[in-house]
Symmetry: C2
Subunit: 446 residues, 2 copies
Amino acid sequence: MKKADVVIIGGSAAGLTAAITARRHYPDKKILLVRKEKLVPIPCGIPYIFGTVGTPEKNLIPDTPLEKNNVEIMLDEVTAIDCGSLSLSTKSNETIQYGKLIIATGSHPMMPPIPGFEKENVFPVYKDVEHLTKMQKVMENAKKIVVIGGGFIGVEVSDEINKLEGKDVTICELLPHCLQLAFDEEFCEEAEKLLKERGVNIVSGSKVVSIEGKTKAEGVKIGDGSVLEADMVIVGIGTVANIDLAKNAGLRLGPTGSIWVDRTMRTSDENVFSCGDCAEKFSFFGGKPSKLKLASIASSEARIAGANLYGVQRESVGTIGVFSSAIGDHSFAVAGLSEKFAKEQGYDVITGVASGPNRHPGSMPGMMPQLVKLIFEKRTKVLIGTQMMGDKAVGELVNVASACIQHKMTIDDIACFQMGTHPALTASPVSYQYVNAAESALLKLS
Amino acid sequence: MKKADVVIIGGSAAGLTAAITARRHYPDKKILLVRKEKLVPIPCGIPYIFGTVGTPEKNLIPDTPLEKNNVEIMLDEVTAIDCGSLSLSTKSNETIQYGKLIIATGSHPMMPPIPGFEKENVFPVYKDVEHLTKMQKVMENAKKIVVIGGGFIGVEVSDEINKLEGKDVTICELLPHCLQLAFDEEFCEEAEKLLKERGVNIVSGSKVVSIEGKTKAEGVKIGDGSVLEADMVIVGIGTVANIDLAKNAGLRLGPTGSIWVDRTMRTSDENVFSCGDCAEKFSFFGGKPSKLKLASIASSEARIAGANLYGVQRESVGTIGVFSSAIGDHSFAVAGLSEKFAKEQGYDVITGVASGPNRHPGSMPGMMPQLVKLIFEKRTKVLIGTQMMGDKAVGELVNVASACIQHKMTIDDIACFQMGTHPALTASPVSYQYVNAAESALLKLS
């Protein structure tokens, strides 16, 4: 029988970060991480194996951080948790005794209940090297590829496939626009324009009815009766929390069906914590349940769970939702609520927009237009969301917004924001879009 | 006699931003901006005219923002302010009647009281197109160029000159290291290493004794008696506030000799405001007078001054000091206090450092190492400073720190920070340096 003070189930962003955090905060504890995968793909890097990065083996989370932090790794699959006896059973018939347990079992791709999804050459995007290798092999001989789902994964995978020689790739999206769950329409349209210019086909506002073909996929039939030809179909329509272990152990589930946790990331059992895609989340805005699943959220939650094992040190403020993506040299990013979603949630909003070059003077290398939209709650003037597009630095500029949202900065706070600027790195201090978007919102108040 | 509700003296970052802000907040007022320069250089862009940008004419603040905002421009030099009669006199004998006045007269280069600085081919860096054009002309025929002062301007100018064919450029710095007023030693050393690799010579810890030569500069004599050969000398050792107008008008001056203002940017006269390099500043940290002068600070102050003209809407929280620079593909940035300066100010500090790649996986394009150092006040655990180096996005990442400093975020706030990450844009969520630097500081507390 194995025994450890702290046992973590799962080795992706949440599990790894939880283990390192536990080590930092509890230097004397014996820590064991149990995972079933020999090789763990970097989740956000998966779309890039198809083009830029090349193979799944070049997109792995290394074991060195665990080794350096004296975390034991055990390759096995946990099959049951017994909260009463504080023990786990594994597939290879091991029993593991734990003092504190962190469940970081992640999520798996959602598959729609639509005829034909079981056919050959239809691939959900599993975070699994073997599966991804098989996808890549089939892709080599595929000419027409349809990607079902125009969210971040669908868009990124399509843009990467499009970089390969001789591929004809089409995104098939249910909503009127790609990326619409994250962005307001004007940003979706810009992203779609870029994708199309680069050669990605987009069929939006279209429900998938069935996958056509005998044993292999030959086409995707959509609502209007037409068929998008395909010799490979990739499905990226969302993910489902892996909760079976927790559920079978009698742990409480949350309103979205994920593992219930309180603000300290503790489950309904006092010795068991959970974080990442498998853990229930609540929104920073209004506190409703949130279905967002991101590696960045997972690692933030893991830093809370890992620190709280032997005494509460940190509490979650709820999920803000900060993410970014790139299409060629253009980057798109969002933090918090979109205007549309904020209104649907009942917020009375006021928005401000500013655009301009990301360099000063405009003749500096790397010049690109930058567009920033800020969304405020009208009465309190507190920032609740931002959307932006521009160069690669937008990936960090959006984190400025995240800090401002988390600390409830107001329109005036942001209008007087003390940013650093530089000709070769940022917009000019006079036209700095993030600040001027706040000023432009203010004008609408008066 | 001319008459306007709001008159702004000065047309650089502070004056321009103040004018636009005044227009935004007071749409019905007549606004007049008086400046002596026909063409206004972008102040931070000046180092780049020598290499990347090419000429001073390609580095100008356009008049279009003023025109669009219905701000009248008057090219003239204000020679006197009469606060009693609310009027200005100009060089061309105009009299201007104002309701509210904003003084944004900026600063001029400091010249040391050292023999030989009056010689030909010795150039301070005036923000003046004609002067800069002359510098560029002399530079064409100069082979050996010595830049006195290894602050941001000196470093940036030297790196740009070094890009030109056949130049031998040497920075001569009084302190042991370049950039030492902004950064701790380890960052200065990295910057110096890069500069040297690129071919810039650095002579540090050396006091300039005199400029040698008959009428033209031929060399710079330093403390140890040796002479750095030079057929051109550029001086970038700091700037002095332009306060003569304000002083002669009887306005109060602050402890550093700049124009005294309160938190609303109002001077000792109730109808006169001031902002930018000419205005006295106090530090966000401890409230002591601050000598920092940056275009980004100027524009933040201008957004306060411009909004407050007819009623207080905004107050300055004091100068944080956020700036960035680039050496080749490497960027350096700082917000708030360095460890050294914080200790000198009496803070009991605790620091955290983290380094790692700025991409995930590391094989993504644009991969560079990123280094982040965070400085916290030990008892309160509040962030008071950061220094970082890495890719161009560091120019925005430092603004995340600025937001966190301004809102007094603690080590734990930052350790649980909800950042957005992306393989092509940022470090991984697991190793995100800004967050892990906070975790590393925390370990030192226990």
